[in-house]
Protein backbone atom coordinates (compact mmCIF):
# COMPACT_ATOMS: atom_id res chain seq x y z
CA UNK A 1 0.00 0.00 0.00
CA UNK A 2 2.02 2.85 -1.32
CA UNK A 3 1.74 6.14 0.52
CA UNK A 4 -0.27 4.86 3.46
CA UNK A 5 2.70 4.25 5.72
CA UNK A 6 1.91 2.02 8.66
CA UNK A 7 -1.81 2.63 8.55
CA UNK A 8 -2.34 -0.17 6.00
CA UNK A 9 -0.45 -2.78 7.95
CA UNK A 10 -2.43 -5.73 9.14
CA UNK A 11 -1.89 -6.78 12.75
CA UNK A 12 -0.80 -10.09 11.28
CA UNK A 13 2.21 -8.35 9.80
CA UNK A 14 3.18 -6.79 13.06
CA UNK A 15 5.82 -9.47 13.60
CA UNK A 16 8.81 -7.89 11.87
CA UNK A 17 8.18 -4.58 13.60
CA UNK A 18 8.77 -6.08 17.00
CA UNK A 19 12.20 -7.36 16.00
CA UNK A 20 14.09 -4.10 16.47
CA UNK A 21 12.55 -3.72 19.91
CA UNK A 22 13.94 -7.13 20.82
CA UNK A 23 17.31 -6.17 19.37
CA UNK A 24 17.26 -2.93 21.33
CA UNK A 25 16.50 -4.67 24.58
CA UNK A 26 19.64 -6.76 24.21
CA UNK A 27 22.29 -5.77 26.72
CA UNK A 28 25.16 -4.14 24.80
CA UNK A 29 28.49 -5.86 25.04
CA UNK A 30 31.45 -4.19 26.72
CA UNK A 31 32.89 -3.06 23.39
CA UNK A 32 29.55 -1.62 22.26
CA UNK A 33 29.20 0.24 25.53
CA UNK A 34 32.68 1.65 25.15
CA UNK A 35 31.89 2.74 21.56
CA UNK A 36 28.73 4.47 22.79
CA UNK A 37 30.67 6.23 25.52
CA UNK A 38 33.29 7.41 23.02
CA UNK A 39 30.54 8.68 20.71
CA UNK A 40 28.88 10.54 23.58
CA UNK A 41 32.19 12.05 24.63
CA UNK A 42 32.95 13.16 21.09
CA UNK A 43 29.48 14.75 20.79
CA UNK A 44 29.96 16.49 24.09
CA UNK A 45 33.33 17.85 23.00
CA UNK A 46 31.84 19.13 19.74
CA UNK A 47 29.02 20.81 21.66
CA UNK A 48 31.50 22.43 24.04
CA UNK A 49 33.60 23.68 21.13
CA UNK A 50 30.55 25.20 19.48
CA UNK A 51 29.47 26.78 22.73
CA UNK A 52 32.97 28.17 23.24
CA UNK A 53 32.93 29.69 19.76
CA UNK A 54 29.43 31.16 20.08
CA UNK A 55 30.37 32.84 23.35
CA UNK A 56 33.33 34.48 21.70
CA UNK A 57 31.41 35.52 18.60
CA UNK A 58 28.72 37.02 20.80
CA UNK A 59 31.23 38.96 22.90
CA UNK A 60 33.05 40.18 19.77
CA UNK A 61 29.79 41.32 18.22
CA UNK A 62 28.77 43.13 21.41
CA UNK A 63 32.16 44.85 21.55
CA UNK A 64 31.95 46.02 17.93
CA UNK A 65 28.42 47.32 18.51
CA UNK A 66 29.69 49.21 21.53
CA UNK A 67 32.42 50.75 19.35
CA UNK A 68 29.73 52.38 17.19
CA UNK A 69 28.91 54.56 20.17
CA UNK A 70 32.38 55.03 21.56
CA UNK A 71 34.11 55.49 18.19
CA UNK A 72 36.94 53.09 18.98
CA UNK A 73 36.55 50.47 16.27
CA UNK A 74 40.31 49.95 15.93
CA UNK A 75 40.70 49.41 19.67
CA UNK A 76 37.75 47.03 19.64
CA UNK A 77 39.36 44.97 16.87
CA UNK A 78 42.66 44.90 18.79
CA UNK A 79 40.88 43.87 22.00
CA UNK A 80 39.16 40.99 20.23
CA UNK A 81 42.42 39.82 18.70
CA UNK A 82 44.35 40.27 21.96
CA UNK A 83 41.88 38.60 24.28
CA UNK A 84 40.26 35.98 22.09
CA UNK A 85 42.74 35.10 19.36
CA UNK A 86 45.94 35.76 21.28
CA UNK A 87 48.11 38.39 19.61
CA UNK A 88 49.20 41.78 20.86
CA UNK A 89 50.81 42.83 17.59
CA UNK A 90 48.20 44.23 15.26
CA UNK A 91 48.21 46.78 12.46
CA UNK A 92 45.26 48.01 10.41
CA UNK A 93 45.88 49.27 6.87
CA UNK A 94 43.71 51.26 4.52
CA UNK A 95 43.71 50.12 0.93
CA UNK A 96 43.58 52.54 -1.95
CA UNK A 97 42.38 50.65 -5.03
CA UNK A 98 43.26 53.39 -7.52
CA UNK A 99 47.01 53.22 -6.86
CA UNK A 100 46.99 49.79 -5.18
CA UNK A 101 48.71 50.92 -2.00
CA UNK A 102 48.32 50.24 1.67
CA UNK A 103 48.68 52.96 4.25
CA UNK A 104 48.91 52.33 7.96
CA UNK A 105 45.76 53.49 9.72
CA UNK A 106 46.40 52.22 13.23
CA UNK A 107 48.80 49.91 15.05
CA UNK A 108 49.16 48.24 18.41
CA UNK A 109 52.28 46.54 19.75
CA UNK A 110 54.27 46.98 16.53
CA UNK A 111 56.66 49.64 15.39
CA UNK A 112 54.80 51.86 12.88
CA UNK A 113 58.06 52.58 11.03
CA UNK A 114 58.42 48.89 10.19
CA UNK A 115 55.09 49.00 8.40
CA UNK A 116 56.43 50.79 5.31
CA UNK A 117 57.42 47.60 3.52
CA UNK A 118 53.99 46.20 2.80
CA UNK A 119 52.96 46.67 -0.78
CA UNK A 120 49.96 45.32 -2.60
CA UNK A 121 51.93 43.69 -5.38
CA UNK A 122 53.60 40.76 -3.69
CA UNK A 123 53.49 38.52 -0.68
CA UNK A 124 50.52 37.83 1.56
CA UNK A 125 49.12 41.35 1.24
CA UNK A 126 49.15 41.13 -2.55
CA UNK A 127 47.61 37.65 -2.59
CA UNK A 128 44.89 38.72 -0.16
CA UNK A 129 43.84 41.53 -2.52
CA UNK A 130 44.19 39.49 -5.72
CA UNK A 131 42.35 36.44 -4.41
CA UNK A 132 39.86 38.40 -2.31
CA UNK A 133 40.42 36.21 0.76
CA UNK A 134 42.31 36.42 4.04
CA UNK A 135 45.75 34.84 4.02
CA UNK A 136 47.41 32.80 6.74
CA UNK A 137 51.13 32.28 7.09
CA UNK A 138 50.88 28.59 7.96
CA UNK A 139 49.09 27.96 4.67
CA UNK A 140 51.63 29.85 2.55
CA UNK A 141 54.45 28.17 0.65
CA UNK A 142 57.69 29.38 2.27
CA UNK A 143 59.21 30.62 -1.02
CA UNK A 144 56.30 33.02 -1.62
CA UNK A 145 56.77 34.88 1.65
CA UNK A 146 58.51 38.23 1.60
CA UNK A 147 61.30 38.82 4.16
CA UNK A 148 59.15 41.54 5.75
CA UNK A 149 56.38 39.00 6.31
CA UNK A 150 58.39 36.74 8.60
CA UNK A 151 56.50 37.83 11.68
CA UNK A 152 53.12 37.92 9.99
CA UNK A 153 50.54 35.35 11.16
CA UNK A 154 47.51 36.47 9.18
CA UNK A 155 46.27 39.10 6.76
CA UNK A 156 42.58 39.59 7.43
CA UNK A 157 40.94 41.12 4.40
CA UNK A 158 38.40 43.86 5.14
CA UNK A 159 35.89 43.75 2.34
CA UNK A 160 32.67 45.62 1.79
CA UNK A 161 30.45 44.38 -1.07
CA UNK A 162 33.41 42.94 -2.97
CA UNK A 163 35.43 46.12 -2.51
CA UNK A 164 38.63 45.76 -0.47
CA UNK A 165 38.85 48.57 2.06
CA UNK A 166 41.85 47.41 4.06
CA UNK A 167 43.70 44.69 5.89
CA UNK A 168 44.16 43.73 9.51
CA UNK A 169 47.67 42.36 9.87
CA UNK A 170 48.13 40.02 12.82
CA UNK A 171 51.82 39.62 13.60
CA UNK A 172 53.31 37.43 16.37
CA UNK A 173 51.06 35.32 18.56
CA UNK A 174 51.43 35.36 22.35
CA UNK A 175 54.28 33.16 23.63
CA UNK A 176 51.83 30.64 25.13
CA UNK A 177 49.99 30.28 21.82
CA UNK A 178 51.66 28.11 19.19
CA UNK A 179 49.26 28.40 16.29
CA UNK A 180 45.82 29.53 15.21
CA UNK A 181 43.05 27.13 16.14
CA UNK A 182 39.66 26.31 14.63
CA UNK A 183 37.85 28.94 16.72
CA UNK A 184 40.45 31.56 15.71
CA UNK A 185 39.74 31.00 12.01
CA UNK A 186 36.02 31.41 12.68
CA UNK A 187 36.65 34.62 14.63
CA UNK A 188 38.79 35.91 11.76
CA UNK A 189 35.96 35.15 9.32
CA UNK A 190 33.69 37.13 11.61
CA UNK A 191 36.12 40.06 11.67
CA UNK A 192 36.33 40.13 7.86
CA UNK A 193 32.71 41.25 7.70
CA UNK A 194 31.88 42.84 11.03
CA UNK A 195 35.11 44.73 11.66
CA UNK A 196 34.71 46.18 8.16
CA UNK A 197 31.24 47.46 9.06
CA UNK A 198 32.43 48.96 12.36
CA UNK A 199 35.48 50.63 10.77
CA UNK A 200 33.43 52.00 7.88
CA UNK A 201 30.78 53.28 10.27
CA UNK A 202 33.45 55.11 12.26
CA UNK A 203 34.85 56.69 9.09
CA UNK A 204 31.43 57.81 7.91
CA UNK A 205 30.72 59.26 11.32
CA UNK A 206 34.00 61.21 11.25
CA UNK A 207 33.16 62.54 7.79
CA UNK A 208 29.69 63.52 8.96
CA UNK A 209 31.03 65.37 11.98
CA UNK A 210 33.69 67.19 9.95
CA UNK A 211 32.16 70.03 7.90
Amino acid sequence: MIGTGDRGRSPLHAGPRTKPAIANSRVPSGTEQLCLQVQQLSLRQQMERNHFLLERLHASSARLIQSLETGDAFEAVAEIIGNLIGSEEVAIFDYCASNETFSLAWSWGVEPVAMRHFTSGAGMFGRAVREGTSQFRERQPEHLLLPSENQLTACVLLKSSHEVIGIIAIFGLLPQKNRLEWTDYELIKFLETYATIAIQFQRLQTKQVAP
Binding site: G82, L84, I85, L174
Partner: protein
Protein backbone atom coordinates in the same frame (compact mmCIF):
# COMPACT_ATOMS: atom_id res chain seq x y z
CA UNK B 1 12.57 -0.16 47.34
CA UNK B 2 9.93 1.59 45.22
CA UNK B 3 8.31 2.96 48.39
CA UNK B 4 11.65 4.26 49.59
CA UNK B 5 12.32 6.01 46.27
CA UNK B 6 8.85 7.60 46.38
CA UNK B 7 9.50 8.74 49.91
CA UNK B 8 12.80 10.41 48.97
CA UNK B 9 11.19 12.16 45.99
CA UNK B 10 8.36 13.45 48.14
CA UNK B 11 10.81 14.60 50.77
CA UNK B 12 12.74 16.55 48.12
CA UNK B 13 9.53 18.06 46.74
CA UNK B 14 8.34 19.17 50.17
CA UNK B 15 11.74 20.70 50.91
CA UNK B 16 11.64 22.61 47.64
CA UNK B 17 8.15 23.86 48.45
CA UNK B 18 9.15 24.99 51.93
CA UNK B 19 12.08 27.13 50.66
CA UNK B 20 11.01 30.22 48.74
CA UNK B 21 12.43 30.46 45.19
CA UNK B 22 14.36 33.65 45.97
CA UNK B 23 16.10 32.02 48.91
CA UNK B 24 16.97 28.95 46.82
CA UNK B 25 18.62 31.20 44.22
CA UNK B 26 20.54 33.02 46.94
CA UNK B 27 21.74 29.70 48.36
CA UNK B 28 23.01 28.73 44.92
CA UNK B 29 24.73 32.06 44.32
CA UNK B 30 26.63 32.29 47.54
CA UNK B 31 30.08 32.80 46.05
CA UNK B 32 31.05 36.22 44.77
CA UNK B 33 33.83 36.78 42.22
CA UNK B 34 35.41 40.12 41.45
CA UNK B 35 36.55 40.29 37.82
CA UNK B 36 39.10 43.00 37.06
CA UNK B 37 39.95 43.79 33.46
CA UNK B 38 40.22 47.01 31.48
CA UNK B 39 39.21 45.16 28.32
CA UNK B 40 35.50 45.24 27.71
CA UNK B 41 35.78 42.14 25.48
CA UNK B 42 37.40 40.13 28.26
CA UNK B 43 34.72 41.22 30.73
CA UNK B 44 31.98 40.30 28.26
CA UNK B 45 33.37 36.82 27.61
CA UNK B 46 33.90 36.08 31.28
CA UNK B 47 30.44 37.37 32.18
CA UNK B 48 29.00 35.02 29.58
CA UNK B 49 30.97 32.02 30.88
CA UNK B 50 29.90 32.72 34.46
CA UNK B 51 26.25 33.39 33.71
CA UNK B 52 25.81 30.29 31.58
CA UNK B 53 27.98 27.76 33.34
CA UNK B 54 28.07 28.72 37.01
CA UNK B 55 25.97 30.15 39.80
CA UNK B 56 28.71 32.46 41.06
CA UNK B 57 27.82 36.11 41.46
CA UNK B 58 30.05 38.29 39.32
CA UNK B 59 31.03 41.87 40.03
CA UNK B 60 33.60 43.78 38.01
CA UNK B 61 36.15 46.56 38.07
CA UNK B 62 38.07 48.17 35.22
CA UNK B 63 41.45 48.78 36.86
CA UNK B 64 43.55 47.92 39.90
CA UNK B 65 42.51 50.95 41.91
CA UNK B 66 38.82 50.25 41.51
CA UNK B 67 39.51 46.57 42.26
CA UNK B 68 41.10 47.41 45.63
CA UNK B 69 38.19 49.67 46.55
CA UNK B 70 35.53 47.14 45.52
CA UNK B 71 37.33 44.27 47.24
CA UNK B 72 37.50 46.24 50.51
CA UNK B 73 33.85 47.18 50.22
CA UNK B 74 32.32 43.94 48.93
CA UNK B 75 34.67 41.22 50.24
CA UNK B 76 34.48 38.84 47.26
CA UNK B 77 35.32 35.15 47.69
CA UNK B 78 37.83 35.30 44.84
CA UNK B 79 39.43 37.88 42.55
CA UNK B 80 40.20 37.27 38.87
CA UNK B 81 42.53 40.03 37.72
CA UNK B 82 44.32 41.17 34.57
CA UNK B 83 47.87 42.55 34.96
CA UNK B 84 48.28 45.31 32.40
CA UNK B 85 45.73 47.98 33.34
CA UNK B 86 45.64 51.78 33.64
CA UNK B 87 45.86 53.68 36.96
CA UNK B 88 47.04 50.64 38.93
CA UNK B 89 48.36 47.38 37.48
CA UNK B 90 47.17 43.96 38.59
CA UNK B 91 50.46 43.30 40.35
CA UNK B 92 50.25 46.55 42.35
CA UNK B 93 46.62 45.82 43.23
CA UNK B 94 47.56 42.30 44.28
CA UNK B 95 50.26 43.61 46.62
CA UNK B 96 47.87 46.22 48.06
CA UNK B 97 45.18 43.62 48.71
CA UNK B 98 47.62 41.25 50.38
CA UNK B 99 48.84 44.02 52.70
CA UNK B 100 45.32 44.80 53.89
CA UNK B 101 44.09 42.64 56.81
CA UNK B 102 40.53 42.79 55.46
CA UNK B 103 41.42 41.37 52.06
CA UNK B 104 44.64 39.41 52.56
CA UNK B 105 42.89 36.04 52.61
CA UNK B 106 40.98 36.49 49.35
CA UNK B 107 42.52 34.22 46.68
CA UNK B 108 43.66 36.17 43.62
CA UNK B 109 44.02 34.57 40.20
CA UNK B 110 45.96 36.65 37.72
CA UNK B 111 44.53 36.38 34.24
CA UNK B 112 46.81 37.83 31.63
CA UNK B 113 48.32 37.75 28.17
CA UNK B 114 51.79 37.74 29.76
CA UNK B 115 52.76 34.08 29.78
CA UNK B 116 56.53 34.52 30.00
CA UNK B 117 58.27 32.92 32.97
CA UNK B 118 59.45 36.22 34.49
CA UNK B 119 55.90 37.58 34.50
CA UNK B 120 54.58 34.40 36.11
CA UNK B 121 57.24 34.63 38.81
CA UNK B 122 56.54 38.29 39.35
CA UNK B 123 52.84 37.43 39.66
CA UNK B 124 53.46 34.85 42.39
CA UNK B 125 55.85 37.22 44.15
CA UNK B 126 53.06 39.81 44.34
CA UNK B 127 51.01 37.32 46.33
CA UNK B 128 48.63 35.81 43.77
CA UNK B 129 47.31 32.30 44.37
CA UNK B 130 47.27 31.23 40.73
CA UNK B 131 48.13 32.43 37.26
CA UNK B 132 46.18 31.85 34.03
CA UNK B 133 47.14 33.04 30.55
CA UNK B 134 44.86 34.45 27.86
CA UNK B 135 43.16 33.42 25.63
CA UNK B 136 41.22 31.80 28.45
CA UNK B 137 40.11 28.20 28.19
CA UNK B 138 36.64 27.92 29.77
CA UNK B 139 37.18 24.46 31.19
CA UNK B 140 40.55 25.33 32.69
CA UNK B 141 39.14 28.48 34.28
CA UNK B 142 36.07 26.74 35.70
CA UNK B 143 38.14 23.88 37.09
CA UNK B 144 40.38 26.37 38.85
CA UNK B 145 37.41 28.24 40.30
CA UNK B 146 35.89 24.99 41.49
CA UNK B 147 39.14 24.14 43.20
CA UNK B 148 39.01 27.41 45.15
CA UNK B 149 35.29 27.87 45.67
CA UNK B 150 33.76 24.44 45.38
CA UNK B 151 30.90 23.49 43.06
Amino acid sequence: MERLRKCVTEEEKSREKSIPRGQRMREMATKKILLVDDSCTARLVNRMIFSQKTNYELISAVDGKEAVERAQREKPDLILMDIVMPRMTGLEACRALKKDKETEKIPIILLTTRGEERFVQEGYASGCSDYLTKPVNDAELLDLLKAYLGE
